[in-house]
Subunit: 130 residues, 4 copies
């Protein structure tokens, strides 16, 4: 299942070239992750209040074309690999003219907030992730 | 006592106009506050680990001239009002040509991290603040 | 006329205390300004492409209560003073429980992008600002 | 040649977990790139004023351990592949205890700022890059 999330590019996110600075894409992906989870009935805030955090193990970006100020970006996000110890996401970012701007992936894992050790995701969340 | 702190402007902090985006100044001030305290023997990290946080009650900025990419900014920071319940800072930001770019002020207060209520700053910190 | 703009707080915008870091509010205000102008038929992007920029002369914030991760903020923005050479905005930020978190103001002025000098706002924009 | 660049972690760069939010690393790398170039006699600002920009084609990060507030990071940056049309950088980030936190790579290419097309890097810069 691919979830579509829309983000309007902020002025502050653009650089001297007039493009979205590449450091902002990680925040865009995170917002998209939050929203695909919300669409599945999980709020990441509740997970974290429940003692589970989901750090990023790795992330990678391929930039094809630049996003620009005031663009209305569409982020296609999907969960591509997921077990009870980790969860990988894949993303494609398009602009309002349906041009593919960026490919990205992130690998996340589940960590117990108390002892900061990797943990298995409890059953109640696992069902929703699928 | 005025403390001088130097910051090199990052590319990502500049906007389409080529200027430092105004949202970044709050981070510059915070870095300058951290360093004036360090020069007095206090690390804010230790204060926070010690259960004391220092939220911003108000802040204001007057922008006179723009800072630009790769500028080496000098921030003159001083503590202008301080008691055991609050602490105010004043800032002036200059570029490498000694041109005054920005005036700013912040009002901070001390809060107990456990119960999130205002608190008096313990004696051991208070001496250093002066 | 007060325009209401909604912003969901991003994870990356929150700090060690779990609060929205105060440096992010300037971006929230900017997004709200962009949207009140859009509601009046002006896109700031077009203004800038038309050679007019609108730098911030001053800004101030009063923080009453903290915003937190995943809060759905409502920003009430209005134009409180406006002539053909400048434009001031006032903002109030509320959370989803209708609690007032922050007051803020910004003073902007109009600048010719070519020569970087203050300018009068052309008639066609001025009407929409009102 | 490996260049060592030091960055003090800002409060604003840390998240609810107390860790540097992963979106900030791209800015750290950029600052390190700027400084390795400066050490070779090139300021990126001059290159850009000279009509040459250096967009990021791809970037990837492996996060091994988290950086924390007030850490003094050491970034080891080196140019690992470079021709007159592109330039790749490799990075390792360590904390003050010499613990390896992050591996990263970026692929950049040279673009003519006027027409936004890929270009060869002029001879005068090319020598310094080596």
């Amino acid at each position: 299942m691919v979830y579509e999330h829309f983000i309007r590019v902020r002025y502050a996110e653009c650089d001297r070239m007039g493009f979205v600075h590449h450091s902002n894409y990680a925040m865009y992906l995170e917002e998209a992750r939050t929203e695909i989870l919300r669409s599945k009935g999980i709020t990441y805030k509740e997970m974290e209040d429940d003692g589970i955090i989901m750090p990023v193990r790795s992330m990678s970006f391929q930039f094809i074309k630049a996003a620009r100020y005031d663009d209305l970006l569409r982020i296609n996000v999907e969960i591509v690999g997921e077990t009870n110890v980790r969860c990988d996401f894949k993303y494609e970012i398009y602009n309002q003219d349906n041009v593919l701007l960026t490919h990205a992936t992130t690998e996340m894992f589940f960590v117990n907030k108390q002892n900061m050790r990797p943990m298995r995701l409890p059953e109640k969340y696992l069902e929703s992730f699928d």
